[in-house]
């Protein structure tokens, strides 16, 4: 049931206005006749007291206001002084110290907007100052006390996605003493980082680094982790999201000694996603050795429930009839850390799927991994790879009309940020594993921008990697070589480092440096009302200033869900997201500015216009009320979702909705007052 708007119902007290005109030590006073202004304003209705003062911001100035409030019963304050940006806070707190609602004060800028810009016209400046103050006084008659919007906030956050970004932000939030639930869709933690051999810029083993992080997360008592889990329903707003989670069963409970046997008896063979199809797995499998959680898992989609594995496993270890479970969470904020997926080339794109010797950079990582499908030997099709070409910007920096679009009709016109340095680091690894191999690097621009990245580029040059440069309009071609040739593939490039000559490179293997696409999260976008950008990655409020917040209060972004990033950048973004969550939830209460829409119940006839135009999600709803047997509809504001943009106020046909603190009737009164007759004054200026 929506709450009743109390402030509307209360009878308004008679305004008793205190007026203060600051001389600013002559800055205002030398141009504007402050004493006269104060005297004139004192004649206006409702003005109880009116002063001119040398420095209103000084302690004596502030005390004057406080005394008037306490002793003269002043209940509205109008101050004309320097810019409101300098001293609005000062005066608000003075008013509050006197026991008055701090929003019952209005500030008129008499320095930056009057005395400093009209020195040549003291008379007219005084007239303008008087009128501006009259406007302020008119507004003061209409002002109502405002309270910040306070919402109870659960000291509990949900992190969606258990890649390096999700893990890092869960850790940072938990270390602040808040509860964290982390859910991961797959059955293991770590996301893509687990798949890489070594990572730039430190050349460390990715899984070693990841393991350290996961161990810290596991050691944190405030974190609860659910793998195989996804959000199915959400409701509520910042401070109070109610979320339903569905967790797929794992089917296997803990490790057991003859796991290998249980796997061996499984008759199903599937492409191993972890190796990007370079190897196969069974329907009972482990993503990789050492993964967390480490027990085997059943691939329900492909398992035929033949029961072979159950027979060999110890009693109760495997349960093929386990059901999914659903449970509810109440959290104050949500971190979206749903990550990326590597770009999947289209059929025939530079030979992809057409020739088995064309692989992606992600596959190359698996291939060169000591724990990978070829135990780290640089072999393809059973033969050592001699010559290899790496082609950059596959699925990135695409150009409309040149590249084939994605299903949504758009090309990927962004840079994927990590592929250049990742390629350079892989080139170095190839050299290490196959010192005689020729490595061709076919690029548009080398973007080794980060700290330590340029070293990889420079070393690649030293390691005799051959660079060729293509333009996006002239995509390199990958072709099958003649039967007689001793290299199966031919790469044809128009090389712009050598007069645009077309060069043919015979190679054993082509590596496509594929970029990043966001993991598809349309369901979450719909449930949380966040927006994707044109590049399909989740959209931040402001790409420069507020890069980890979304337009929905309480929903923040971490890592590659927001755009291509490397591990370092994902972890930094995760930390930033954690800071925002901690600031929101740490007090157990969220406080928002009071400048939100308010509905006048007398005037609202449920036209729904405001809702139609409101640009915020779920800030306004039409609800049905029954009063004295009459049923009607009326707009209701959810202050937590309203940012006070005022679009509703401009479109309501009944003038039934306003932004608190910025009501239209206040503005009308100001306009009237400014153009009013100035009260007559005995004596000259």
């Amino acid at each position: 049931m929506p709450e009743k708007d109390e402030s509307q119902a209360k009878p308004r007290e008679e305004p008793r206005i205190g007026v203060y005109v600051c001389n600013c030590g002559g800055n205002i006073g030398n141009v504007v006749a402050c004493d006269n202004v104060a005297r004139v304003l004192g004649k206006l209705p409702n003005v109880v007291t009116s002063h001119s003062h040398m420095f209103m911001c000084s302690d004596p100035g502030q005390n004057l206001i406080i005394d008037d409030i306490k002793e003269k019963g002043v209940n509205r304050v109008v101050i004309g002084a320097c810019s409101l940006f300098l001293h609005e806070q000062t005066f608000r707190s003075a008013v509050e110290r006197a026991g008055l609602n701090p929003y019952l004060y209005y500030h008129v800028g008499l320095r930056e907007q009057v005395s400093w810009v009209h020195h040549d016209n003291p008379k007219e400046a005084t007239d303008k100052a008087t009128r501006m103050m009259m406007g302020g006084i008119a507004k003061a008659r209409y002002m109502r006390p405002l309270e910040p919007v306070r919402l109870d906030a659960g000291k509990h956050a949900l992190v969606i996605g258990g890649g390096v970004a999700g893990l890092r932000s869960a850790l940072d939030i938990a270390r602040r003493g808040l509860q964290v639930t982390l859910i991961e869709k797959s059955h293991y933690l770590g996301g893509h980082m687990a798949q890489w051999e070594r990572v730039f810029p430190t050349h460390q083993k990715a899984r070693v680094l990841l393991k350290e992080l996961i161990e810290r997360v596991l050691a944190e008592p405030n974190i609860t982790i659910h793998t195989g889990a996804q959000v199915v329903r959400t409701q509520g707003y910042v401070g109070n999201f109610q979320i339903k989670i569905r967790q797929e069963p794992r089917g296997v409970h803990g490790a057991f000694p003859n796991e290998q046997e249980a796997v061996a008896v499984c008759p199903i063979k599937q492409r191993r996603e972890f190796d990007y199809g370079l190897s196969t797995r069974k329907a009972i499998y482990r993503a990789y050795n050492g993964c967390v959680p480490e027990s085997l898992v059943i691939d329900w989609e492909n398992c035929t429930k033949c029961g072979e594995c159950v027979k060999v496993a110890p009693e109760g270890m495997i349960n093929l009839n386990e059901e999914a479970r659903e449970f509810d969470l109440k959290v104050g904020a949500v971190v979206l850390a749903t990550g990326f997926k590597p770009y999947e080339p289209l059929y025939g794109e530079m030979g992809w799927k057409e020739f088995p010797e064309v692989i992606t950079l992600a596959q190359l990582h698996r291939l060169l991994d000591d724990e990978g499908p070829s135990d780290g030997k640089f072999y393809w099709n059973g033969h050592p790879v001699r010559d290899v070409a790496i082609i950059h910007c596959v699925g990135s920096r695409q150009i409309e009309g040149v590249h084939r679009p994605q299903p949504d009709g758009n090309v990927n016109n962004y840079c994927s940020r990590v592929c250049c340095t990742a390629s350079m680091s892989m080139a170095a690894l190839i050299r290490q594993k196959a010192p005689d191999a020729k490595v061709y690097d076919i690029y548009e621009d080398i973007r080794t921008y980060g700290r330590g990245h340029e070293d990889y580029y420079r070393n690649a040059g030293k390691e005799q990697v051959t660079f060729l440069r293509y333009f996006a309009e002239e995509i390199p071609e990958v072709m099958r070589a003649d039967e007689s040739a001793d290299r199966p593939l031919l790469v044809k490039v128009k090389d712009h480092l050598t007069w645009g000559e077309t060069i043919e490179l015979p190679v054993d293997l082509v590596v496509l440096a594929t970029g990043m696409m966001p993991n598809p999260v349309d369901d979450l976008i719909g449930m949380f009302k966040v927006s994707p950008g044109n590049d399909r990655f989740l959209l931040e409020v402001h790409p420069k200033l507020r890069p980890v917040e979304t337009a929905v209060n309480g929903i923040v972004l971490a890592g590659t869900a927001q755009g291509p990033m490397n591990i370092q950048e994902s972890c930094a973004a995760a930390g930033a997201a954690a800071s925002k969550v901690a600031a929101l939830l740490i007090q157990g209460e969220v406080e928002l500015e009071p400048f939100v829409a308010v509905v006048d119940p007398e005037r609202c006839n449920g036209s729904g216009k405001c809702i139609e135009h409101c640009p915020q999600e779920e800030a306004l709803t039409l609800e049905t009320f029954t009063e004295n047997g009459r049923t009607f509809q009326r707009a209701v504001v959810t202050p937590a979702n309203c940012n006070g943009c005022g679009v509703c106020a401009g479109v309501c046909p009944n003038r039934a909705i306003d932004v608190a603190g910025w009501r239209l009737d206040e503005f009308e009164a100001m306009v009237e007052a400014i153009t009013d007759e100035i009260p007559a004054m005995e004596g000259a200026i």
Binding site: R168, D172, R175, P221, I225, D535, L545, I567
Partner: protein, 445 residues
């Protein structure tokens, strides 16, 4: 006079990174002191024109942050102040800060600038305008400076006393002495930023002697609405340039200058400036000589594409030398990488060196925090914990940890706040608001 302050975090450097880190810590309820050596916060960002890739007016997005740090109840802002010594141990640092004399009493000054009006002496403004603009001997640093307080360049003051008479609040004090503040803090965040690579270091580019060879930051000021001239001109004769060259990697990726890294922002700011110049000077030709265009951030590639569509010329080439003709037009000798390193000479009427970034400060001797071979603060675990330094309880953020743009500075500022907050929390013995602990459970494990 000496005061003592007990706080949770001391943030050193009031650029965008330091300001954001302060706000993110203060918003979590921690007590923060922000020490900035210059008379205003804002750092390099406060002087930029518009920012890539949004082309937001830069002051418009900086000023609210600047006033936010000044007004935040949990932040003590100390501008024109420097750390003098750091003692103590991990988690319990004693820091001595000197507030340099402004010769203007901060609490009294109302920022009215009456003193400025009467001061008879103009000085070239090196700090904010690279010698192009001027300020008085007594001056408020710039129009959006925070705090809006005057200071006197005492070395150049002739003590004529005019400001004394003009000041309505008796704020001027020629005898002002430094003040000292002793700070006890659990943690320290270094956000000491960057400086640009010297534009006169490279002999081949004229060593700073060619008048129509300027650097990126100067152009920012030409383009800024608050800049000294308010229009685009070339220094030698004030004429509008109509054939402008950008020389990329002038000071970065250049082993001869000892700067072997990429400075990360220069491609983007050159493209931005080129677009703004093209808007202001529709008839001008603008050419960017580059090695690789590194438009890697969110929305950056599209920005680059827009610039190409606007007709800005991109030439892949390394500028080997710059000389000038008799009209002081810069002549660029360019190795065209795209054409097998063929060498050509191109005449322009203004050349802009896209200078890179050097660390703004070496914290090793004072803070015991070593730097890496690139001179930026060393990160022991750059992948997972990019804001840690080699010393416990001391963290680093923004361009103090390597070149980066504003959005990345803001992100690492959020990250350093999280890292420092966790440290403070564990160090202060969970003194506030400890959430009740529930049983740890990892389902499926």
């Amino acid at each position: 006079m000496t005061n003592t302050l007990k706080i949770d975090a001391l943030v050193v450097g009031g650029g965008i990174a330091g300001m954001q880190a302060s706000l993110d810590l203060a918003d979590q309820g921690y007590q923060v002191a922000l020490v900035e050596k210059n008379p205003s916060v804002g750092g390099m960002m406060a002087g930029l024109s518009k920012v890539f890739p949004t082309l937001d007016c830069c002051s418009c997005i900086t000023t609210p942050k600047m006033s936010a740090v000044a007004h935040h109840a949990n932040i003590s802002l100390m501008t024109y102040s420097e750390v003098q010594s750091v003692m103590g141990n991990e988690g319990d640092y004693q820091v001595r800060v000197m507030k340099k004399p402004r010769y203007v009493i901060e609490d009294e000054c109302s920022g009215c600038r009456s003193c400025e009006m009467v001061c008879p002496l103009d000085l070239p403004d090196y700090d904010n305008e690279y010698g192009r603009g001027a300020h008085r001997v007594i001056y408020v640093p710039f129009s959006t400076a925070v705090p809006q307080k005057a200071l006197i360049d005492i070395d150049n003051c002739i003590y004529c006393g005019k400001c004394l008479k003009a000041c309505t609040t008796n704020a001027i004090d020629f005898a002002q002495q430094p003040e000292y503040v002793n700070i006890e803090t659990t943690s320290i965040v270094l956000a000491t930023g960057y400086k640009t690579t010297p534009y006169d270091a490279k002999k081949e580019y004229g060593g700073g002697r060619l008048r129509n060879v300027v650097h990126g930051m100067m152009v920012e000021r030409l383009l800024a609405p608050t800049g000294a001239y308010g229009r685009q001109l070339r220094p030698s004769d004030g004429r509008q340039p109509d054939n402008i060259a950008y020389v990329q990697c002038a000071g970065s990726r250049d082993l001869t200058l000892g700067v072997d890294y990429c400075s990360r922002v220069c491609c983007m700011y050159a493209i931005k400036q080129a677009m703004l110049l093209a808007g202001a000077l529709p008839m001008a030709d603008i050419t960017i000589y580059y090695m690789d265009i590194r438009a890697f951030g969110k929305g950056y590639e599209q920005f680059y594409e827009n610039a190409k569509a606007m007709g800005i010329q991109f030439v892949k080439g390394k500028v080997a030398r710059i000389t000038e003709d008799e009209n002081q037009n810069p002549i660029l000798r360019v190795e065209l990488i795209d054409q097998n390193s063929r060498v050509v000479e191109r005449k322009h009427d203004l050349a802009v060196l896209s200078v890179g970034m050097l660390p703004g400060f070496d914290p090793n001797s004072m803070y015991g925090v070593p730097v890496d071979k690139d001179g930026f603060i060393k990160a022991p675990n750059p992948n997972i914990s990019p804001t840690l330094t080699m010393r416990e309880g001391i963290f680093a953020t923004g361009t103090a940890t390597g070149p980066m743009d504003i959005v990345d500075s803001i992100i690492t500022a959020g990250a350093v706040a999280a890292e420092a907050a966790a440290y403070i929390q564990s160090h202060n013995g969970h003194r506030q608001l400890v959430a009740e602990q529930t049983e740890r459970s990892v389902t499926h494990a």
